[in-house]
């Protein structure tokens, strides 16, 4: 058995502990809502498009138990200075205006990281200026693009430190920092801050490696942060990177996901909302539901090894329309759990999920094999 096999087997073993199958009669729609029966365990299914176990859409009972509220997610705006790229600015402004226009107004905005493209204070200030227009409570977690020019200094000054926790209408909200704990690849070679940031900003680069993670200290913090919380009470965990192993070479994971799972395993109502993947994504591990949020800047392709079996893939984006395949997320918490609506700026509003394999960002790529790049490796390769 090679390393990859061993890893895949271990992943399967850990994730499928106490496995339960999804109810075949349920379905995922533009709005994702999971029926309570599905919280009981991770669902496993065939990865193919046709066999996707569809999950239930249920109109939200808003009056339920007085515990309902709305919130919004914006992330991955990747702002460059506005004389370099006006499109990214335009899209960030559009998202902010749409959140502002939500009626009833959301309780808060969570900004999920990658506000800037190269961590430049000019970019971060530009982003802050746009977000300041939004007159609701704002919560922040950092992305790698915000961090590695000055190791988070400007970010923390402007938006505060992570991790944090906050109780809101009976829900414990937790914001993690999954980006700031990268192993040091820069000191030994005396990299400049710009070079360090450049490697971090290259999703498919080979220098920075599979850097995402919480680190020991934050794992301890997380264990403490949930220690007093009742096992049946709702927990919503925000992270920039997904909290499971989807595709490490692009940091579609956190390296210490096993430890995160151990900490969250006793809780029955956990939802993880994450950025970084810039795509429609859904998974469950243990009892944790995980939903990938949209970027405003650009969509990433699905990982070459495939997507979680529970994901219903988004449509292929049109590269001629910079508003396609991107947007923000409208969320609601209503008694039972988190409901997500992908607000994707497509001409045809309803076509977020692909209806046919040939229009799907994952099912279309059955012939595709991909290989890591070479130019940033040491010569000779």
């Amino acid at each position: 058995m090679n390393d990859i096999d061993r890893d895949l087997r271990e992943r399967a073993r850990v994730l499928r502990r106490g496995e339960q199958r999804a109810d075949a009669g349920t379905r995922i729609d533009r709005r994702i809502f999971l029926h309570r029966s599905l919280w009981a365990g991770a669902a496993a299914g065939a990865a193919s498009f046709g066999l996707f176990p569809l999950l239930n859409t249920i109109d939200m009972a808003f009056a339920q138990e007085g515990q309902s509220f709305r919130f919004a997610w914006i992330s991955d705006t990747h702002l460059l200075p506005d004389d370099v790229n006006t499109r990214f600015v335009e899209k960030t402004i559009r998202a902010v205006q749409e959140v502002q226009a939500m009626d009833p107004s959301p309780d808060f905005l969570i900004f999920g990281g990658d506000l800037a493209q190269l961590g430049d204070p000019v970019e971060l200030k530009l982003g802050k200026g746009i977000l300041d227009e939004l007159e609701i409570k704002k919560l922040f977690i950092p992305g790698e693009h915000d961090w590695y020019l000055d190791m988070g200094k400007t970010w923390v000054e402007m938006f505060g430190a992570s991790p944090w926790k906050l109780d809101h209408k009976g829900v414990r909200l937790i914001g993690l920092d999954t980006v700031g704990q990268a192993p040091d690849y820069w000191s030994a070679t005396n990299m400049s801050p710009q070079e360090r940031m450049g490697h971090m900003a290259t999703l498919d680069g080979s220098v920075a490696g599979a850097w995402a993670g919480l680190g020991d200290e934050q794992l301890k913090w997380l264990a403490d942060a949930v220690a007093d919380w009742p096992k049946d009470a709702p927990l919503v965990v925000f992270s920039h990177n997904p909290l499971y192993e989807y595709y490490p070479p692009w940091n579609f994971w956190v390296r210490d996901w096993r430890a995160v799972h151990e900490i969250l395993a006793p809780f029955n109502r956990v939802t993880n909302l994450h950025g970084h993947t810039h795509q429609v994504l859904y998974n469950q591990f243990g009892k944790v539901r995980s939903i990938g949020m949209l970027a405003t800047a650009w969509p990433w392709p699905y990982a070459p090894e495939g997507v979680p079996a529970l994901t219903r893939c988004m449509v292929r984006a049109n590269p001629g329309d910079h508003f396609d395949g991107v947007g923000w997320d409208k969320l609601a918490f209503a008694g039972e759990g988190v409901e997500n609506e992908y607000v994707m700026w497509r001409p045809k509003e309803d076509a977020v999920f692909a209806q046919e394999p040939h229009d799907s960002g994952c099912a279309d790529n059955i012939n595709q094999r991909l290989h890591a790049r070479v130019a940033d490796r040491m010569w000779p390769y």
């Binding site: 370099v84 595709q368 094999r369 070479v374 390769y381």
Partner: protein
């Protein structure tokens, strides 16, 4: 990132190998190729892959050396196509919906330079185009040919 001079690097490898007396040139396919020759052929190809990789990842020095400007938005190809994903070189030529015409990979490379990147279209036979093509094919090697697929 250090960039080595690369113009005709592959040919230089061949010439060096020949000068060292290690290789007997096989000018046609009639005679057998030595291992050293095959390595030199591969090196010539990989050098183009490396250049294409740098262009695809928006390396400004490589652009300058080749006299091209692939982007005006701060975006590089790899930002939307990590590992060359979704460039589908194995599907060309095909009817390209976005262009409304029957197109080659090179046409589509140029289309993405002009549309998402707002850059300047490059000559279909230029060094830069060949290098981009080399990188895109190389990163998609092992994919099944399926010309004409949407």
């Amino acid at each position: 990132m250090r960039i080595q001079p690369f113009v005709n690097a592959g040919l230089r490898v061949l010439a060096l190998a020949a000068a060292a007396g290690a290789v007997q040139f096989a000018l046609a396919h009639g005679s057998k190729h030595t291992r050293a020759q095959l390595q030199a052929f591969e090196a010539a190809f990989m050098e183009q892959v490396r250049i294409g990789d740098l262009l695809f990842h928006g390396d400004p020095e490589t652009e300058k050396q080749l006299g091209v400007s692939l982007s005006q938005t701060g975006m590089a190809c790899a930002m939307c196509h990590p590992y060359g994903s979704d460039t589908h070189p194995y599907e060309f030529p095909k009817w390209q919906e976005q262009m409304g015409e029957f197109a080659t990979l090179r046409d589509m490379i140029n289309w993405c330079i002009e549309k998402p990147n707002q850059g300047t279209k490059i000559d279909g036979d230029s060094e830069a185009m060949k290098a981009l093509e080399a990188y895109i094919y190389w990163s998609n090697r092992g994919s099944s040919l399926d010309p004409g697929r949407h």
